[in-house]
């Protein structure tokens, strides 16, 4: 987003001011046309957010890249930081057992969120858009998981999944160790994550659907489209901005997926996720700042790939962009 903002200024060619009274030939907004006061206002409006982005996003990101080449326990001044080159990275890929399972789990999470909860969320939104009776009830029910606090979500699933006292084993009479058995516990987490994600996507999509001009549907109906065709040929293309948001949210959620595994067992024993590993190493008493930073740098690189793809898609199709 930040990259898109300066675009207009670069495209404005230098103009020799002064020519009052003559009409401008170009429609492009021109900086020199602004009054001094306006320039200050624009400067402030751009500068303050820029300052925030720099101090809160860019600087910490760079710092964490730098720290990833060090060994530091977070105690004492910067003088206690020890440079160790790429050792953190080589340790991560060679002797740190949770790393590869974490990568794998993150990928599985991404694929899963895309294929099931996102689709389900869209489907529910379409159904709810039909002005069913008690639609408010369904909306609330499906959206509830998104609003619940982390601690509560952990507690709810503990009640359901607990091996000895849980709902599932109680009803089915089984003794499956949903949380502890590393061959099944990640699936349990996927269900719990999907439970939240579905409601989130549903709400966003429902909001988008409400904004679709009814005339379009009527026109499609008049032209003899079936309901399916109306949705896939007319509504879905119109909803493009929402679709992109849903896409982005899904990617972000799968990369950040963290809270549920954290409340279950702090991301261990089959529930490794990169975000959880970063937290394990950096936050808390462990304070392996350098090692954790290396992990978060890896996460940053992965996210960057997605950000680039996203920006390319968005920029290409923006009205101002090249078509």
């Amino acid at each position: 987003m930040a990259a898109a903002a300066p675009a207009p200024t670069t495209s404005s060619p230098p103009t020799t001011g002064g020519g009052d009274g003559r009409r401008r030939r170009r429609k492009v907004s021109d900086l020199s046309k602004l009054k001094a006061r306006d320039k200050v206002v624009v400067g402030l409006f751009l500068g303050i957010p820029l300052l925030f982005v720099l101090t809160l996003v860019v600087f910490p990101a760079l710092a964490s890249v730098l720290l990833s080449f060090t060994r530091w326990n977070g105690i004492g001044g910067l003088g206690t930081i020890e440079w160790i080159g790429g050792k953190n990275y080589s340790d991560i890929v060679s002797i740190y057992p949770p790393f590869w399972p974490a990568i794998q789990n993150n990928v599985v999470m991404l694929v899963f969120l895309f294929t099931i909860p996102t689709v389900l969320g869209i489907y529910l939104a379409v159904l709810l858009d039909k002005e069913l009776r008690f639609t408010w009830f369904y909306q609330t029910a499906f959206f509830m998981p998104v609003v619940l606090s982390l601690a509560l979500v952990g507690f709810i699933w503990q009640l359901i999944y607990s091996r000895d006292q849980g709902l599932i084993n109680g009803v089915l009479g089984t003794t499956i160790d949903w949380y502890g058995d590393p061959s099944v516990n990640f699936y349990a987490v996927l269900v719990a994550t999907g439970w939240r994600h579905t409601g989130y996507i549903m709400l966003i999509y429902l909001a988008g659907l409400k904004g679709v001009d009814p005339a379009l549907r009527e026109a499609a109906l008049v032209d003899g489209c079936t309901e399916r065709q109306t949705f896939f040929r007319v509504v879905l293309p119109v909803m493009r901005p929402i679709n992109i948001i849903v896409l982005v949210i899904t990617v972000i959620e799968s990369l950040r997926a963290f809270d549920i595994v954290w409340v279950i067992n702090k991301g261990r024993n089959g529930l490794e996720l990169i975000a959880a590993l970063v937290t394990q190493n950096v936050v808390g008493e462990a304070s392996r700042i350098g090692f954790g930073s290396a992990l978060s740098t890896i996460m940053l690189i992965i996210s960057t790939v997605f950000v680039i793809i996203y920006l390319r898609v968005v920029m290409r199709d923006e009205p101002g962009g090249a078509r």
Partner: protein, 457 residues
């Protein structure tokens, strides 16, 4: 759930009630100043912005105002924590009454306090704060983050073992012990009597007993490791029984190899015992394991004394024995008995008051104040009144007194980064797959060398 219509409304929702209570406009603030007086309004506002719940015991108002000023106290129990919080407040009130020094309590949730300790100590720590004896205390002492309090020693009733545990690497004291508790094998007396079971004294006896228990359909040994740390208790005790306390200490210090025959032997013995343990421990919380013991689904469990807090009404029917001997040359005279207590920050605002408070917390008077509030562990001070304590507590005190050596617990005896990022996953991996001991030990050792390389020796 209606969504907030404006950002302000949204932000207002996420502000905790303790803070929201002090949100007012400038006008109402000014009005408040006029009515209540700046002296009352302003500190309340500041206090509400602080990290934790600020609870000021009743006496703050005026009672002891003439005494030694005010001491700030960082407590690792939050307001809603029940007994642990209440008895701390009881101690604080008793101290205020006795000394005339007022204590301002900054109560923070237990785990949060522990996780934020690095930032806490480097920021603006309270004069006195709760902490544990062991590696981490000594480490902070080395870093100059906690204050030297050797001039309050010797403290009457605090024995040599406790003083040793309170001493930093430089030979000075940095810690005041208040209480500790043993790790032992707990069981229900009535169930054992009914079946004619008696506490084993050797590993072979324990295995025979376990086999007998299995034949009655009861799981011999309760086990839970979802939280990651309970299995450390089993590792500690097996290592101390098989290789002895001294080896355990140097292993924890990073001086012995985890890839050694000694450590592999520990895992082999453990693997041998695992079939007697409650299955699928990795998905079970220790509270659930306590319930299993209470319901006679399991016959015994190796755990800390605080296990009994899970069934306070039935505590009289429970007893414990120390983990049996494995190697007669080593014996069974070492256990984990973690010590909880207090440290003073490096630059306290009120050093004199802080030391007074620390001394009080190790005194028999402190015990008197807390016994009434439901204390469940054991006093460090040997002069403390044990009369109001339960049989189990008294027996615990005897058990600890009988030990030749006391360990603190794996995550207190070694580097916290090693304990949490290497040992927890490794022990969980072992429990899930006890076959690959060689691979596991090699992996632990490789990670240990990477982590312990930090240590400037």
């Amino acid at each position: 759930m209606n969504r907030p219509s404006s950002e302000a409304e949204y932000l207002a929702r996420i502000v905790p009630p303790s803070v929201a209570g002090t949100r007012f406009t400038r006008r109402s603030f000014l009005r408040g100043m006029g009515v209540a007086g700046a002296g009352i309004a302003a500190p309340a506002l500041l206090a509400a912005c602080g990290g934790g719940d600020d609870a000021e015991p009743a006496a703050t108002g005026g009672a002891g105002a003439g005494g030694g000023g005010e001491v700030t106290f960082g407590l690792n129990e939050s307001t809603g924590a029940g007994v642990p919080y209440d008895r701390n407040i009881a101690a604080v009130e008793a101290f205020q009454e006795a000394s005339g020094t007022s204590v301002k309590v900054n109560a923070v949730d237990h785990n949060t306090f522990q996780e934020q300790i690095n930032n806490y100590l480097q920021g603006n720590p309270d004069d006195v704060f709760t902490w544990f004896a062991g590696y981490r205390m000594r480490f902070f002492a080395d870093q100059g983050l906690i204050g030297d309090i050797s001039d309050i020693y010797p403290i009457e009733g605090i024995g040599e073992g406790f003083v040793k545990a309170s001493t930093g690497n430089d030979g000075q004291q940095y810690f005041v012990p208040e209480q500790n508790y043993p790790w032992a094998v707990f069981y229900r007396k009535s169930l054992w009597e009914e079946n004619g079971w008696t506490p084993p004294t050797t590993l072979d006896e324990m295995k025979a007993l376990a086999a007998d228990m299995q034949s009655t359909g009861i799981i011999p040994i309760g086990f839970a490791d979802k939280d990651g740390w309970p299995a450390m208790g089993t590792f500690d005790i097996l290592n101390m029984r098989i290789n002895g306390y001294d080896f355990h200490v140097s292993l924890m210090a990073g001086d012995e190899s985890w890839d050694s025959e000694e450590v592999k032997e520990v895992f082999r013995v453990w693997a041998d015992l695992l079939p007697f343990h409650q299955p699928d421990p990795l998905g079970r919380t220790w509270q659930e394991a306590a319930t299993s013991l209470q319901n006679n689904e399991t016959a015994m469990i190796l755990f800390g004394l605080f296990l009994t807090e899970q069934f306070p009404d039935e505590v009289d029917d429970f007893d414990f024995f120390t983990f049996p001997e494995i190697d007669s040359a080593i014996g069974a005279d070492a256990i984990d008995a973690p010590i909880d207590g207090f440290c003073m920050s490096a630059n306290p605002a009120n050093e004199e008051g802080a030391k007074e408070f620390l001394k009080f917390r190790a005194s028999p008077e402190n015990a008197d104040a807390q016994n009434a509030a439901g204390f469940t562990q054991i006093w460090a001070n040997s002069n403390a009144d044990l009369e109001p304590l339960s049989e189990l507590q008294k027996k615990s005190a005897e058990l600890i007194a009988a030990q030749a050596s006391i360990a603190q617990f794996l995550d207190r005896d070694t580097r916290p980064d090693f304990a949490s990022t290497v040992m927890i996953p490794s022990l969980q991996q072992f429990i899930g797959n006890p076959e690959d001991i060689d691979g596991l030990c090699a992996s632990i050792e490789a990670q240990k060398q990477s982590i312990f390389a930090t240590e400037e020796s």
